[in-house]
């Protein structure tokens, strides 16, 4: 196990309706000089949570929300666009989030999230609108059944089977890749021949 498995999560939503929230917003580049993963929760959305003077903006939703009970981020369209920094999902997890719901989630951010136990969930614009309009509502994300449930809604979502298995087990796929080493070596020998 390389991270906390994701099976079923029941939690409240934290809503950031802005579109195109990029990885420079999620964690500004000046926090990327770290050589480990410690302390990244403080850097999550740093420039949204702190004023230019470095003072915490206590009224900001990211500061006034109890992260223990609000582990599901509902964000505007095209969340996580921009750079490949894995520090983005690391920071969101350290801040306290376990899942991100949007109408679309950028490619590399999505790939990075899946490898760390942060579940990206893509929903239709109708469901999205519903969730955006009622911040703080309780939702259940059942990865095994691939269902998002809230109120009377049961919304199916899909995750690649391999990524789903890794999330349910809490494993990054390196072990599976290492098991393929005979095939990898045969490929390299075939090419050298």
């Amino acid at each position: 196990m390389t991270f906390e498995p994701f099976r079923t999560l029941t939690s409240r939503t934290l809503v950031l309706p802005e579109e195109n929230i990029d990885t420079d917003q999620i964690i500004p580049a000046r926090f990327l000089t770290t050589t480990d993963k410690n302390g990244l929760g403080e850097a999550a959305f740093h420039d949204w949570r702190y004023g230019p003077d470095g003072v915490l903006d206590e009224g900001h939703i990211l500061n006034s929300t109890d992260t223990g009970s609000h582990q599901v981020l509902v964000a505007g369209d095209n969340f996580g666009c921009g750079s490949s920094r894995e520090h983005a999902p690391w920071a969101l997890l350290a801040y306290g989030l376990r899942a991100v719901i949007s109408t679309s989630i950028a490619d590399i951010f999505r790939s990075n999230s899946l490898k760390n136990g942060l579940l990206p969930v893509v929903v239709s614009p109708e469901v999205h609108k519903d969730l955006l309009e009622q911040p703080g509502r309780e939702v259940t994300i059942d990865l095994d059944a691939e269902e998002l449930r809230f109120g009377n809604h049961v919304v199916p979502f899909s995750t690649e089977p391999f990524a789903r298995r890794c999330l349910l087990e809490g494993n990054d796929p390196l072990g599976v890749l290492l098991n393929a080493m005979p095939e990898i070596e045969a490929f390299e020998e075939g090419r050298a021949a």
């Binding site: 580049a29 000089t33 490619d107 391999f162 393929a180 990898i184």
Partner: protein, 466 residues
């Protein structure tokens, strides 16, 4: 069998095709490594008792965190923080331990990761190239399949030289006809992003085709492919041709039997009857010098136009951040700072374009201009051509190579509220410093804007100063 360029490169590097319960396994021909996205990956290998499997297919450089100022009187480089210096030292130690070649500070081959691969001839047609950096798409200019990965995947490649990959879809981006004089690869790229939108390319590999693409130098093709990620695409590609082969011939990293390699590379093109999952056509002749006005790269327009009305609250907030209003002429934006450099536009051709406009002219009062070559090789070439003297005479700064103000993590940055015309790739809020307002543009447009003191059309500055 017929296929697209992408499919041909994919098939060449496929260890195992996609299965019902597992993505494909793709072999990686070149793994580029830099100081920011690698330390935690090396750490995972150490924790698991794994070795770097193919140091011969791995090349490391220092670019993001390094100062672009020279060492002070005490001989020490002015790192922005001790942590930045530690990050550099960490890559040194990791590379030494793993036997990975590192282009260290002081190495005449060092540069931004996406410049050094091509300069050394390590970037080649048909290769799979990855790096923990989203602008790895740059290398697609050579007909390579090149894309950015996260740090976990950096670890996968270090340990196995392979990656699990779901096969992306393909999109043909066809430029119809030639561009008009004064229009550059940067303008073509911004036109693509404006048309596709920031997520229009998500899930796709783009292949750029058409007369205007064929006419580009390798430098221009790299700029075009570099920006593919800003439309959400994983990669961008251009089929190799004589321009590609001429660029590579004689570089140290190319195959010993270069002619045989070229014969092989000729096969790397999309067949005439190949089908793409999607296609867009862009009227190349209609493209004019482009600038951005909002806080995402797709919010771009021709410099003669005006700021459009925002389509929603997010865009409206972006315009407020930028301090512009709908209907305002794009060329009326006042400029505080200009940055020429980055993996997007830090190559020799970019510096020549900036110098052509700055020659005999002065940077406007109140404007700071920073020119940062993308590599030591570019710096040497520029100085051999006397371009640095042009920049210095114009009142601009001439720095040491690195990512610098593109990502602003080495201390090179703007001040809150400043408008920066930048040849880099992202105009996100705060990207170039907290509160900084970024306007993306070509090197020629950036240079013209430095002289004018407001966002300016480079076509008005063609030829020698009066």
């Amino acid at each position: 069998m017929t296929g697209t360029l992408f499919e041909k490169v994919w098939d060449r590097n496929l260890v195992r095709p996609e299965q019902s319960d597992s993505p494909a396994i793709l072999h990686i021909g070149l793994h580029l490594v830099h100081e920011v996205t690698s330390p935690q990956a090396f750490q995972v290998l150490k924790e698991r008792g794994l070795k770097v499997r193919r140091p011969d297919l791995t090349l490391a450089t220092l670019d993001h965190s390094v100062p672009t100022l020279r060492a002070g009187a005490d001989g020490r480089l002015p790192y922005v923080t001790a942590q930045a210096e530690k990050q550099v030292e960490t890559l040194r130690a990791n590379a030494r331990e793993a036997g990975i070649e590192l282009l260290d500070l002081g190495d005449e081959r060092r540069g931004i990761v996406h410049l050094v691969g091509p300069e050394l001839g390590r970037t080649q047609p048909g290769l799979t190239i990855v790096c923990g950096d989203s602008h790895t798409s740059t290398h697609g200019a050579f007909g390579a399949l090149a894309f950015g990965i996260g740090t976990t995947e950096v670890g996968h490649v270090l340990a196995t030289q392979c990656l699990f990959q779901s096969k992306p879809k393909t999109m043909r981006v066809f430029f119809d006809g030639p561009v008009t004089p004064g229009v550059t690869a940067k303008d073509m790229a911004l036109a693509v992003i404006a048309k596709l939108g920031m997520e229009g390319g998500t899930g796709y590999v783009l292949e750029y085709q058409g007369e205007a693409v064929r006419a580009l130098s390798m430098e221009g093709r790299m700029t075009l492919c570099n920006l593919s990620i800003e439309a959400g695409a994983r990669a961008g590609m251009v089929a190799p041709d004589e321009t590609t082969f001429d660029y590579l011939r004689g570089r140290p990293g190319v195959p010993d039997d270069f002619d045989a390699a070229v014969a092989d590379w000729h096969a790397l093109r999309s067949d005439d009857d190949a089908t793409f999952d999607a296609e867009i056509v862009i009227d190349a002749g209609a493209i004019t010098p482009m600038v951005t006005f909002g806080v995402s790269p797709d919010e771009a327009g021709g410099i003669g136009g005006s700021v459009p009305a925002p389509a929603n609250d997010s865009q409206a907030a972006g315009l407020r951040y930028m301090g512009v209003t709908a209907g305002q002429n794009l060329s009326s934006m006042k400029v505080d700072r200009v940055f020429v450099g980055s993996c997007t536009n830090g190559r020799i051709e970019d510096l020549r374009a900036a110098a052509a406009i700055l020659r005999g002219r002065k940077v406007a009062d109140g404007v700071t201009a920073l020119i940062v070559p993308g590599s030591e090789g570019v710096k040497r070439q520029a100085e051999a051509e006397g371009l640095h003297e042009v920049f210095l005479a114009a009142g601009a700064e001439w720095r040491e190579p690195g990512c610098s103000m593109c990502i602003a993590m080495n201390g090179d940055k703007g001040a809150p509220g400043e408008v920066v015309v930048s040849t880099s790739n992202r105009n996100f809020r705060g990207r170039q410093g907290e509160g900084v307002r970024t306007v993306l543009a070509s090197p020629a447009t950036a240079a013209a804007s430095a002289v004018a003191g407001f966002v300016a059309d480079p076509r008005d500055y063609v030829g020698a100063a009066a």
